[in-house]
Symmetry: C2
Subunit: 227 residues, 2 copies
Amino acid sequence: MTDSVPTAPPVPAATINRLPLYQRALAALDPRGTVSSAELAEATGVNPAQVRKDLSVLGLHGTRGVGYVAGDLLAQLSEHTGADEIHPLIVAGMGNLGLAVANHAGRRSQGFTVVAAFDVDPKLIGRTFRVGDGTVTVSHPNELPAIARRTGAVLAVVATPPAAAQQVCDDLIAAGITGILNFSATPVRVPTGVHIRDVDLAQELQILAYHERRAHPGADREEVNIR
Amino acid sequence: MTDSVPTAPPVPAATINRLPLYQRALAALDPRGTVSSAELAEATGVNPAQVRKDLSVLGLHGTRGVGYVAGDLLAQLSEHTGADEIHPLIVAGMGNLGLAVANHAGRRSQGFTVVAAFDVDPKLIGRTFRVGDGTVTVSHPNELPAIARRTGAVLAVVATPPAAAQQVCDDLIAAGITGILNFSATPVRVPTGVHIRDVDLAQELQILAYHERRAHPGADREEVNIR
DNA sequence: TTGTGTGAAAGTTTTCACAGCT
DNA sequence: AGCTGTGAAAACTTTCACACAA
């Protein structure tokens, strides 16, 4: 299924996930100056050797004894990740969360612009929101195919209630979307070739809560009775 | 630094991160019925062997040839993760995103309740919002120490602008917070003993965008000139 | 027969440590 | 002297495969 192109990507998934971190750190630096892997590590919370390995895997090299040229490195990274372009983004579900995400991530400075928003709520359809550095008007989902085609968007944010998420994702995929950021608190099945990332706010908190319970076992009145 | 208690936790981090997944899947089932690891796997997108190993590591066992009793398993899992209690939650930064997160995750059914919200914006201070299944009134940050002490909260959500994030986290930690869910688009340094999880919406999108670029190299008008 | 429990293999990711440019 | 580039080791995670209990 993954053999459509001759060279399979040898870039480790873990590396890919860190690239945006490096980009942000680099963006805060003087493009003309140099950065060492140690400095990048400090700014991102990553191990210095990891930084060097990540960049090295992408074919991005620094100068021994000196470091990397911040501006050059950022440009090369951006080209790799696609951060050198503005990606059109569709938002499905314009409740509180959908709006916040649209507003937060849908800025050109981040590399994204919200080109369409959908919701089934009649009170929302037709309303125009300021999101990021532009505006969107909420459309009915039955306009999705036409709008998706017209805008050429391949990325979408799903912020619907859990019950609707699978259907919404299916519709998005049918309309040509191939990358979905899923905020509905439910895992969704997608066909091969479509990328999905689940972000579940409650889950993140639950993970934190777990650690707190470990760290402060007696904090609650329940007696800890590990035998 | 981690040797405060005799037995260091032998539960792999990867396992911990999956526990909320299992909990959600189990909650949707008849508590009296049985589930097989295969069914749990199907519902969560995890490999069946992984499911068994995860549960086994926690000392949670099923019956061979039958499976696990859904209700029992959920109860035991919940006790482990702390999902059997309602955790008080503080929200710092009540913009769009802070409000959405508060509203989304701050429900008792999820195991959390928002006990306080802070913002520096004078227009927000004093306002009362419906969040989750309750309400909060936004306070000025200088009330943080008192409120934190009174509520006993140890978990906080940070949804401030990046520039304020480090200071806000420092203040939260000084007030006794030991677990932070950080939505500000910047990494924050915390002392040992404090857990932090970074959720960066733009970063998630950028990771998706990376994959799209790999999958559909010619989609943009820019000529791909990999030498 | 069905589905758990788990050693052992395979794969992935992180970290170390040091040779080699500048 | 300083910092990259990278093999090799260590740590962690996933997956396999099969004995074994119900």
